[in-house]
């Protein structure tokens, strides 16, 4: 199995593009998903600012977004993608559907991490006269950091998987190489190498994420 220099370059670019789509999407999705997750926890009926009706409406909206499969969502929102990114294909454009599909998922991950924070610790903060904002910034988020990092690792690897699927609809990266060369042109060797590369990238992201998470855990 000998690859031309061109193919090597292509694969190299593929890795870079995959990482670019994944990491940028994850970062933007967290900007939306983290506050949303916090709102879901705080407004829960047992939360620090209970607003049960608002909470259930928000919950339903998150569930609706989460229940649309990535590829279908990406096709469905392609006008939005075009409006935001200027075109509906390529790595940068794919960030839009990746974010839309990932942030509700991230909100749920954040919600479950924050809910792990001991109620007693929150009560202790309340007994000291902490405001809702102080409880969120000084108790909920810092105490949940290890769990949030585990969640971020899961989210990032999931987005990497989605980004590969995005190859079908004109996205870039390793997924696109897989589909364009391996699937469309029956170049099995390219397919195999790309899959191996995807596995390696996935493993690396997982490993780095879990290491950071474990390191942050003081329990």
């Amino acid at each position: 199995m000998i690859f031309s220099e061109k193919m090597m370059q292509l694969l190299g670019m593929g890795i870079v593009e995959s990482l670019y789509m994944t990491l940028v999407s994850a970062a933007v999705a967290y900007i939306l998903g983290l506050p949303l997750g916090l709102i879901l926890v705080a407004t829960d009926k047992d939360g620090i600012k209970p607003m049960p009706r608002f909470n259930s409406i928000l919950g339903i909206m998150v569930n609706i977004l989460r229940s649309i499969p990535f590829l279908i969502l990406a096709i469905f929102i392609s006008p939005l993608t075009k409006a935001i990114a200027g075109k509906s294909y390529g790595s940068t454009a794919m960030i839009v559907p990746l974010v839309v599909s990932a942030f509700p998922y991230i909100a749920r991950l954040v919600e479950s991490s924050i809910k792990e924070v001991d109620r007693g610790v929150i009560e202790a903060a309340q007994s000291m006269g902490a405001s809702t904002k102080q409880i969120i910034m000084k108790v909920l988020l810092p105490e949940a950091v290890p769990s949030l990092l585990v969640g971020a690792t899961i989210a990032t690897t999931t987005i990497l998987g989605y980004s590969a699927m995005a190859g079908f609809i004109g996205g870039g990266g390793l997924g696109a190489i897989c589909i364009n060369y391996g699937y469309s042109r029956y170049e099995d060797d390219v397919m195999t190498v790309t899959v191996i590369l995807l596995v390696i990238v996935m493993q690396l992201l997982q490993e780095i994420g879990m290491r950071i998470a474990n390191k942050s855990n003081k329990r």
Binding site: D118, S127, G129
Partner: protein, 343 residues
């Protein structure tokens, strides 16, 4: 505590009710609680689990809003305060918990800094004060340790230091020693006593253990079935319990003594006014009356006897009278109890 009557209470609980709304019915947690707690005292609140004592302590700092009635803290009616004012009032009331409730992701020093961050104390001042407090609780060497690296007793010491950080006037202790072993419990209680004496801080202790009350409280309220059953000085409550709920707490557990059925029993209270000598053995020798020891829990503190013993009396009425007279003569508080009382 001599000038107690002349003093104004630091906390007044007035006509306090607390109901919980369950799915289809109201559950009563507290009913018509009235209590005055004076500045500088160590006040105990004791009751069985489910009596409502944890709810009561949370009503004192309004973590739980009472359904009716109010709490006056330091001349301020907490029910009239805005959320913001309430937050600042709470900074004058420290609280410690059974499960310590330390921030697991912060080290000891930063845990102590936490309430000062909330109160807006400049960082350098907070660090300085936190170090002083670490020294006060005897853990100066643990500044950079995380809670997970500390023992239960050490965690509670850090929690105490944290509760004291904002110079509160009152320290609320919610079952603060219930998760600790007896030796650690004693050391935490003596730390609380020391803090009370050195800083003059009022301490309110919630517990289900009579031994905790005996050890450090000056006055105690017994809470049973969501109401205050009895309030008074600890020695009075311990030697002459009035309410049934109090008797249940003060008298030894019936489970330990299967033979509590019929007959005459005598409860002898050792309140520290006698020396630790074999009084009952001497009595048996002197009076030549045999008694059956049903329960004994006495301890020797600085050569003086504390605790209580329950003996079964002979059937002979005159013998009983002699035994009672003998013990009273030794300056002991004795009380005739019947089996039903103890059970």
């Amino acid at each position: 505590m001599k000038q107690q009557t002349a003093q104004k209470p630091i906390i007044q609980i007035k006509g306090l009710h607390k109901n919980y709304r369950l799915k289809d019915k109201e559950a009563i947690a507290l009913e018509n609680i009235n209590l005055d707690i004076y500045s500088g005292e160590i006040f105990g609140i004791i009751g069985m689990s489910g009596a409502g004592k944890s709810t009561l302590v949370r009503c004192i700092n309004f973590l739980e809003k009472p359904t009716a009635g109010t709490v006056i803290f330091d001349d301020r009616d907490l029910s009239t305060l805005s959320e913001k004012e309430l937050c600042s009032a709470r900074q004058s009331m420290g609280m410690i918990f059974q499960q310590f409730n330390l921030l697991m992701q912060r080290n000891a020093l930063k845990n102590i800094c936490f309430p000062m961050e909330i109160a807006g104390v400049p960082k350098a001042d907070a660090q300085k004060r936190a170090k002083e407090l670490l020294a006060l609780v005897g853990l100066s060497d643990k500044a950079t340790a995380y809670p997970a690296q500390l023992s239960g007793g050490q965690k509670q010491r850090i929690a105490i230091a944290r509760a004291l950080a904002t110079n509160p006037k009152v320290l609320l202790c919610d079952e603060a020693t219930s998760a600790l072993d007896p030796t650690t419990t004693r050391s935490i209680l003596s730390l609380l006593k020391d803090i009370n004496q050195r800083l003059g801080i009022t301490i309110i202790i919630i517990t289900h253990e009579m031994s905790v009350i005996e050890e450090i409280c000056q006055r105690v309220a017994i809470i049973a079935d969501h109401e205050i059953a009895e309030v008074g000085k600890v020695e009075d409550i311990f030697t002459k319990p009035q309410a049934a709920a109090t008797k249940k707490l003060v008298y030894p557990e019936s489970k330990k003594t299967q033979s509590f059925e019929r007959g005459q029993y005598l409860r002898i209270v050792f309140d520290g006014s006698t020396s630790f000598e074999p009084i009952i053995a001497n009595m048996i020798i002197d009076l030549k009356e045999s008694v059956n020891i049903i329960f004994a829990d006495t301890k020797n503190i600085d050569g003086r006897a504390f605790g209580q013993t329950v003996i079964q009396m002979p059937d002979d009425k005159r013998a009983v009278a002699r035994i009672v007279a003998y013990l009273r003569n030794k300056n002991l508080t004795v009380e005739e109890v019947c089996g039903n009382d103890i059970q």
